[in-house]
């Protein structure tokens, strides 16, 4: 089971590499694939596997550490945080603000609540399609 099973960089995804790495690690943690305390690939191993510089991987790991998702110890390696902070109160607040704004917008249009929920379902489905596309 090598690193590529977990992390890979998309050619079609034009977002920066360090962000792609961050997202995929977050995703693994959210799914429970990588448990609290578990060691994750070293920045050198990750860099070699992806054929990129260690500094780029380090940047991804550093920002994830600032977010509280992972911890890094010099000379030892990087690990999923004991209590990975995936959904801080702040993040949930931001989510609610977006939903509230959507409700306001729907009200402005005169869109019934039922159809607002339907629209959310549609957009979620579109996302799934796009995800399939990009992973082909």
């Amino acid at each position: 089971m090598n690193i590529h099973t977990y992390i890979n960089l998309s050619q079609t995804d034009h977002r920066p590499m360090y962000l792609q790495i961050m997202d995929q690690i977050r995703h693994r943690v959210a799914l429970g694939d990588w448990a609290a305390g578990q060691e994750i690939p070293s920045i050198r191993a990750m860099a070699a596997a992806l054929s990129i510089s260690v500094i780029t991987v380090k940047r991804a790991y550093l920002e994830l550490e600032h977010e509280g998702v992972i911890v890094t110890r010099q000379g030892k390696g990087s690990f999923i945080a004991d209590n990975p902070d995936m959904g801080s109160a702040l993040r949930h607040k931001e989510l609610d603000q977006h939903l509230e704004a959507a409700i306001d917008a729907a009200q402005l249009i005169g869109l019934p609540e039922q159809e607002l929920q339907t629209r959310l379902r549609e957009l979620l489905r579109q996302r799934q399609e796009q995800h399939k596309e990009s992973s082909k």
Copy 2:
């Protein structure tokens, strides 16, 4: 009624100026403040009012023209596109953008789709409660 009543640049908003201008013009059209065919401030007038370069305003106007929101004629000025459905289309677009932002936020914190929909339902219910309160 000067231009500042409609358009202004935020110091705290760190997004580029041309995007802020585009958003605010779109919003005016969505609200119906600026009707189809109506003349909007000239590039030069807008630039002077905001104390920025005409080129920056031109960029905003050019992209809005590509989107079909406005039309520009050399020597004459810029006008809201002659499309009566534009306002409605923009309102729906704004709604979608809020929902997309919510989906992004949910994915970031690893919130399952099911729970995102539940959260929307909860917030809608809260709104109904508040509405009852305020109408007592």
